[in-house]
């Protein structure tokens, strides 16, 4: 019996190992997403948006007479699994391009693999500065914002409108630190000064000990950089201790992103951020997009959903222009191209980073995004 069980296990794994699927004339979109783990919620939006984009493309008959098909792989918030899945999609499934997952470290590890097999990747969620710019590689593009896209115009706007003395509080890991560096650089360029910084460990529950130090420094603006549960705890305590009465509150957009804005309730009201997209954006294209997305998924699209949708559409446009799914031709078509989507019109820069329009946004009326003005 036990031996039978063992043999059965081995047979099952062998069958799974050998199982392969091949598609004919379709344009295959490989979507690697962190569907299990920390980023499960926003990764689901990524997959939803990719599926929606592909369905819309297929309803119009596809591109070059070929329909699109999505192959979703779960990378489970793991770098090694993400690279394995990329190899599977490229070598086994022969996809035509890839939408990689949220985790920056995974995308950074995937980039050399994609380059080796000459396969296009359109980054729709990962934020690390290292993905584009001077460390870019030939096949990797990004239609999502990195820290500089929002940080640069936000810094300029804040110095003009909020004040010149800044105090930064953030979670102690690579992303907040690198984001803070961007803010510091641009705030200083605009003539402001950073009078203090506090870095708290991930998962901090009690922020009161930090507040004394912040108050004593007497900043004009408190700039908060963290996300997820940390953001919810920080914002609720900043509100309870009344810091907003002594200084202005500003943040990186992730502090009040769509996935946690409900958890903030009214606590986040008054906080000022810069971001490239909120679902309330008032353009005809966005109204159609939000309506369709709401009809399908019963929820407003986040900037992650928007970015994943636009990423697929942008590559599809490049395929049409190139007349082929050959990677070199797609790369050439993408470089310097302009795409107009729900978020607006944007150009793919020579650094492989899309130049996005950015808006100054204030949280108001119990967690609503109020667009103040265009920031760049």
């Amino acid at each position: 019996m036990k031996r039978l069980l063992a043999v059965a296990l081995i047979v099952v794994s062998a069958v799974l190992f050998a199982f392969q699927a091949q598609a004919a004339n379709e344009i295959l979109v490989g979507c690697i997403s962190d569907l299990t783990g920390t980023y499960a919620a926003l990764s689901k939006q990524q997959v939803d948006a990719v599926n929606m984009a592909v369905d819309e493309l297929n309803q119009k008959g596809g591109v070059l007479g070929r329909k699109f098909k999505v192959i979703v792989e779960d990378s489970a918030t793991s770098v090694s699994l993400a690279t394995q899945k990329l190899e599977r999609l490229i070598l086994d499934q022969k996809v035509d391009f890839v939408i990689p997952p949220t985790t920056s470290s995974a995308v950074l590890a995937m980039m050399p693999v994609a380059l080796k097999y000459n396969k296009l990747m359109m980054v729709t969620l990962a934020q690390s500065m290292k993905i584009t710019g001077e460390n870019r590689n030939k096949v990797t593009f990004r239609c999502f914002a990195n820290g500089e896209i929002t940080g640069k115009p936000q810094s300029k706007w804040m110095v003009k409108n909020l004040g010149k003395k800044y105090y930064i509080i953030g979670a102690d890991y690579a992303w907040p630190r690198s984001t803070a560096e961007v803010y510091t650089k641009f705030l200083k360029q605009n003539g402001a000064e950073i009078i203090g910084e506090t870095w708290f460990p991930l998962g901090t529950k009690d922020f009161a000990p930090y507040f004394g130090k912040i108050r004593a420094a007497k900043p004009e603006v408190l700039l908060m950089i963290c996300a997820g549960n940390d953001a919810v705890s920080l914002v609720s305590q900043v509100n309870r201790y009344g810091l907003g009465k002594q200084m202005k509150l500003a943040a990186d957009g992730s502090l009040v992103s769509a996935d946690i804005i409900k958890a903030h309730g009214a606590n986040a009201d008054g906080i000022i951020i810069a971001d490239f997209y909120v679902s309330s954006l008032d353009t005809p294209e966005n109204k159609v997009f939000v309506k369709n997305y709401m009809a399908r998924y019963k929820d407003a699209p986040s900037k992650m959903a928007l970015s994943s949708y636009e990423g697929v559409m942008w590559v599809a446009q490049a395929i049409k222009q190139a007349g082929s799914t050959d990677t070199d031709k797609m790369v050439k078509a993408l470089e310097g191209s302009t795409y107009k989507g729900p978020q607006g019109s944007k150009k793919m820069g020579p650094d492989h980073q899309a130049a996005l329009e950015v808006y100054m946004i204030q949280i108001a009326n119990g967690g609503q995004y109020k667009i103040l003005e265009r920031a760049n």
Partner: protein
Amino acid sequence: MAKLNSGSNFKKTFLVHAIILAALAVLPLFLNGYHQKLAVEAIILSVFAMSLDLVMGYAGIATFGHAAFFGIGGYAMGVMLKFLFPSLWLGLILAGFCTAILAFLIGFVSIRAKGIYFAILTLAFAEVVYRIIFHSYNTPLGGSDGLVGVPTPMLHLGFFDIDLRNTVNFYWVAVAFAYLSYLVCKLIVGSPFGSILSGIRENENRVPFLGFNVKWSKVTAFVLAGIFAGFSGAMFTAFKTYADTEQLNFLLSGKVIVMALIGGIGTLIGPMVGAVVITIFESVISTYFRAHHLIIGALFVIVVIFMPKGLLGLFARKDRNNNGS
């Protein structure tokens, strides 16, 4: 499993090894690119799981921080290949050196605690190592972004070079690496020192009366296990072209225990099989089911309850009766 040096058994063992090695050698010719890559990863991880067996299976010491050595080995290889010198040999030497020192420090400090207290101390130390690397933002290690863009080296063998950028070449090197590691570990557990370890596992209090130093034997086992984990991590980084904090994480420490237990501890070969099974399962199942962690968890529970000696225990039993040992 027969000893390596006993008459007719040696012939039989030699034959078995030769057949397994031959089968492994031709395997990549039947696999497509992705499965070849997966096979290399599984074989490299099998050495990691085997190294855990030295402390857990033979010396009977539970450790929850084994990934620290795998990760440090990986970072050592990454630093060597990317910043110092593109040589697999030097990377392995640096990995062995770093993990030996780290394992000695952790082992020496923690070994006065026993059982679960020791295990918790190893977890704590591993977490410290993880946090330090995780926050090494602005250093060449890259913090939580990982150390990426590690070049794959040539393997210099004196008279000729092997290009490891070719997956099949790397596969054969990985098989040789795993087999040599297995032989060395087999020699270790078959030596008088190995008997002391088994003695410690069976009855720690009696071993001192036989004139052996329990503490130093345990530390030595811990260091040896750390070194082999480091080698494995180093090979992993050389193959995957990155070192990431995930390789240091406690989740991996847990996964390697699952690998070892599913394969069957105290056999060396069992954990190797377990590592291969889990690696393939995880990668392949996650493609078809979202709840792949649940499936691996269920598999683990089934194996622990119904096959306490692991997958290998089912097949080894008959063999053991025949040998009468």
